[in-house]
């Protein structure tokens, strides 16, 4: 096998342009956040004008005081302007003009400002995502506290009823949209090339686009708040959503933009993991995080387009008054319900699977043992992903459609417990006779299993139609999915951020503060969401601002716990920012004594990751085998390097 082991020249232009009859072209300008905002504003204004010009006589939709076509066009063209401002189109247009774009040489050290530009370096994109996601999460989390404040009392209201629904919808939608990428964005982009021994991601420009889609998506969704919001919650059921004002159009466009982001990110992920693995990194040796990423990427690629289609249909119904989603004019409100949940159910696994992948990836480091039943954990991820496409109607057991399909959907949903259970088998096997180190990330990992257990077993209640007849649409369901998402995914993220700051930033967080914040978050989280199961069982529906007076004490308990939870999360974030900006305690090269290839590269990760393409000899989980040789040879010599030798895994 002849593999090029010479140092790579990086992404750059060929040197023999003249000989090949090509003309070199410098980038016209370097896009950054500022130029993007300018481009976006110009596009927005133009789109608004255009919409009013072509559809000025359209009757306004329900409560909106504006022409809905103008709103859609301003958002869409504004987004195009945003990308023009970022310089996204420079490269393809230069190519179309027969020019050969030349990237200016990059310095070895990544600058601060680079993080505000349209960077194609996967490490920069990873960091952009990390802080972007953190911001989105905190904003949406703050809205959650707004919800809990209202629910302190069943009769005294803080918010007007429309504001309350807006806040619930904003919180849910922002979380569900943005958090799909909370692991793939930061960890996937930053770590996958390092873990699989690649110098770059397969499609760096798509990768940059995937991040820069999230920003307008977030801004547009947030802007709905001062446009009357959207009354439909994150599920956007028609015809309620057809009634909505301009805020509902923001929902459509923002969600679709995030959909494009996911598609870009996942195409990139699939192509990279399949094609850019270093020699020796067979599928059987691939880190479980990479398995998680490729599984999730495939799931995104198959489910997200359905969401975008659905949003398109809704936008047509709202903008130009087609009637595909409402009855009485030939459409059906069931169409949206099906389209939405055909995406929506896989989506909840888009949230859950990366959390599991990251958890299983880190667990052996702290248990000091190999992953137990490694193949089973991969099978678990794939099994869940495949089954997730066959369960969507469990959200519609009460809807009145297809009663004869209920046993089937009950079965498929319950079947998902089998591959999900594999992950417990893996975890329980992995800690058996380990030498567990209770470092802060490990505490979060253990909490993942505690929390998800609640989320998992209550999922069985939801899937059982007779019990779902009780819990559907109640706070029981809401507690269930917060245990699976907040309790599982976000706890895994907290573990991951803590664990990888030494690699990404070269610093270590304050352990004392880390432990304190962990215990506050863990206890407050459970104290917030466990009573919600009871509240739901006692008959309180979701998304209501009034509830039975006898439930007030429970609700107050929950709200106060939620404030404490917010405080705990704040403490965690302060720890991160403080350590980054002020104390900057150096972490040393491999503080967790991990065997992962990413730690072999070490901090600071060079611009090109590897000087030569490494050769991988074993999987990264061989703790306790007494064999301390690194998992990969970073400096393979000559032809021999290309001979891929087998390790013991």
């Amino acid at each position: 096998m002849a593999i090029d082991m010479t140092p790579a020249a990086g992404v750059g232009a060929p040197t023999d342009l003249e000989a090949r009859g090509l003309k070199a072209a410098k980038p016209w300008f370097t896009g950054n956040l500022l130029t993007a905002l300018i481009g976006g504003a110009i596009g927005y204004a133009f789109g608004h004008w255009l919409g009013n010009a072509i559809a000025s006589n359209y009757s306004v939709v329900a409560s909106g005081a504006q022409n809905e076509v103008a709103i859609y066009l301003s958002l869409i063209i504004g987004c195009v302007g945003w990308f023009v401002g970022l310089g996204t189109f420079n490269y393809p247009i230069q190519k179309l003009l027969g020019l050969e774009p030349i990237d200016p040489p990059k310095s070895e050290k990544r600058t601060f400002l680079e993080h505000f530009s349209y960077s194609t370096d996967h490490k920069v994109v990873g960091v952009q995502y990390l802080f972007g996601m953190l911001l989105y999460f905190l904003v949406a989390g703050l809205l959650a506290l707004g919800i809990r404040t209202e629910l302190l009392s069943p009769v005294n209201h803080i918010w007007a009823p429309d504001t309350y629904i807006e806040i619930v919808g904003e919180h849910g939608t922002m979380m569900m949209m943005m958090m799909t990428s909370v692991i793939m964005g930061p960890f996937g982009n930053y770590l996958i090339p390092l873990m699989i021994g690649s110098k770059k991601m397969a499609f760096p420009r798509l990768e940059a686009a995937s991040f820069w889609f999230t920003v307008p998506s977030f801004l547009i969704l947030l802007s709905a708040l001062w446009q009357g919001g959207f009354q439909s919650g994150w599920t956007g059921y028609a015809p309620l959503s057809i009634q909505g004002g301009p805020g509902q159009s923001d929902y459509d466009v923002a969600f679709a933009l995030m959909g494009f982001s996911m598609i870009c990110a996942s195409i990139n992920m699939v192509a990279t993991i399949i094609n850019y693995r270093a020699p020796g990194l067979r599928w059987s040796r691939m880190p479980i995080l990479a398995w998680g990423m490729i599984t999730v990427a495939f799931t995104m690629l198959l489910s997200v387009p359905v969401l975008i289609d659905g949003l398109y249909v809704m936008s047509l119904d709202r903008g130009v008054r087609t009637a595909m989603l409402y009855a009485g004019h030939g459409g059906s409100s069931f169409l949206w319900e099906n389209l939405f949940w055909f995406f929506g159910h896989p989506e909840v696994y888009l949230l859950a699977l990366p959390g599991f992948a990251l958890t299983v990836e880190l667990l052996p480091v702290f248990a000091r043992k190999p992953v137990f039943a490694l193949k089973t954990s991969t099978a678990g991820l794939i099994g869940v992903a495949v089954l997730s496409f066959f369960v969507w109607q469990h959200h519609l057991f009460m809807s009145g459609m297809n009663p004869d399909m209920r046993p089937l959907f009950m079965l498929t949903t319950e079947l998902i417990s089998i591959p999900t259970g594999f992950l417990y088998l893996v975890a329980m096997g992995t800690v058996w006779r380990g030498k567990i180190r209770f470092e802060v990330p490990m505490l979060f990992l253990l909490a993942v299993f505690w929390n998800f257990l609640w989320g998992g077993v209550t999922g069985v209640y939801n899937s059982d139609v007779p019990v779902d007849a009780l819990v559907h649409g109640s706070f029981f369901v809401m507690a269930h999915f917060h245990f699976t998402i907040m309790g599982q995914l976000m706890f895994a993220v907290f573990a991951g951020v803590y664990y990888y700051t030494p690699l990404i930033f070269g610093i270590r967080l304050n352990d004392k503060l880390g432990k304190i914040s962990f215990w506050i978050i863990f206890v407050a989280f459970n104290s917030t969401f466990l009573p919600l199961f009871m509240i739901g069982l006692l008959g309180q529906p979701r998304r209501v601002f009034e509830y039975a007076v006898r439930l007030q004490h429970l609700n107050q308990w929950v709200s106060i716990s939620a404030y404490v939870l917010g405080f705990g999360i704040l403490l965690y974030v302060i720890n991160l920012i403080w350590s980054l900006a002020v104390t900057r305690t150096p972490a040393g090269p491999n503080p967790w004594e991990s065997r992962g290839l990413e730690w072999q590269v070490g901090y600071p990760v060079p611009r090109d990751n590897f000087i030569k393409i490494p050769v991988v000899h074993r999987d990264p989980y061989g703790y306790g085998t007494g064999d301390d040789t690194p998992v990969a040879d970073l400096n393979p010599v000559g032809d021999k390097a290309a001979v891929v030798t087998g390790g013991d895994a």
């Binding site: 309620l240 009485g328 096997g429 058996w432 567990i436 253990l446 059982d464 019990v467 007849a469």
Partner: protein
């Protein structure tokens, strides 16, 4: 890496000893938990047993909880044991034992979880069919129906933001409150005039989406328990969704019939103006957008005002 026979024996011995202890703790706790769930909490589990469907929901909830408790306990007992026994200390920060799998354990897990899950799916299906849909909306052409000869039909009409009820067996009258007779099988025809709502009568164990242009049918049978039940909208329907609730009562048969015939006479003048009873109503056709319904328009044409 080959391991010596000695190491292998030590592991097996340890697993056997610890395994038995874990199993014993788990078994004792599980028996206690299941007993508490079935006999202490069980009779008080939501949503009570005011109707057949509520009772089925309660029964299913009880069975699931009794099955889930041992699963929770297994993970907790095992996890607790592991955290206590398998951790590093200040002096010993070495590695654990490099186990990569165990056929027997893995096989047992696969089979065990599959059996459990298949049982649950079978159980749920049996309950669903046997309970005539356990109070859930079955759409316009229900497939699981009660066999009762006489059924009381109540149409639930949802609109932003209230419920009204129509009674085809009482001259098609429409009321703003709901009473039901004891010991009677009831058929709910649930529909909506605008967006999707959901009719959730908590104590009755009935839940069915109210879709515009769709008749969603649900069944239940009341018992001899009399009393109040809560009706809440359980699907987000806009601003005042949170305020879309009211109360109904299960009353004795005689009380019900006198209430109903009373209402029928009282409402007769209004009933005349309503569109004829139908399973669904489309406002844009019937003129609910503002005006008389065409077939009942005393002037012979719809008036918009």
């Amino acid at each position: 890496m080959a391991m010596t026979q000695e190491e292998r024996n030590e592991r097996r011995e340890y697993a056997k000893k610890a395994g038995w202890k874990i199993f014993a703790i788990w078994l004792v706790l599980s028996i206690i938990a299941v007993a508490l769930i079935l006999y202490v909490w069980g009779p008080h589990m939501p949503p009570g047993d005011m109707t057949t469907s509520a009772a089925s929901q309660q029964f299913d909830f009880k069975v699931l909880t009794a099955m889930v408790a041992p699963v929770l306990l297994m993970v907790w007992v095992y996890g607790g044991w592991s955290l206590i026994n398998f951790h590093a200390t200040k002096t010993d920060r070495g590695d654990g034992i490099p186990l990569r799998g165990n056929r027997k354990v893995q096989g047992l897990w696969y089979v065990g979880s599959a059996v459990l899950v298949l049982f649950l799916a079978g159980f749920g299906t049996y309950e669903l069919i046997n309970g005539n849909g356990v109070g859930t909306g079955e759409g316009p052409s229900p497939i699981w129906k009660p066999t009762a000869k006489h059924m009381l039909v109540v149409q639930v009409i949802a609109q932003q933001w209230r419920f009204t009820y129509r009674w085809p067996q009482f001259g098609g009258m429409e009321t703003t409150s709901i009473n039901l007779p004891a010991n009677t099988t009831v058929q709910f025809d649930v529909t909506s005039l605008d967006v999707i709502h959901d009719f959730w009568a908590y104590q009755l164990g009935v839940k069915a989406d109210a879709n515009p242009d769709v008749n969603n049918v649900a069944y239940t049978t009341t018992s001899s328990q009399l009393g109040r039940f809560t009706v809440r909208c359980d699907e987000l329907c806009g601003i005042w969704h949170g305020a879309m609730y009211n109360y109904g009562h299960v009353v004795s048969k005689s009380a019900f019939y006198s209430w109903a015939s009373n209402m029928e006479t009282k409402n007769a003048s209004v009933t005349k103006l309503l569109p004829p009873f139908a399973t669904t109503y489309t406002p844009s056709y019937s003129g609910a957008g503002g005006g008389y319904y065409p077939s009942y328009d005393p002037n012979g044409h719809a008036v918009t005002y």
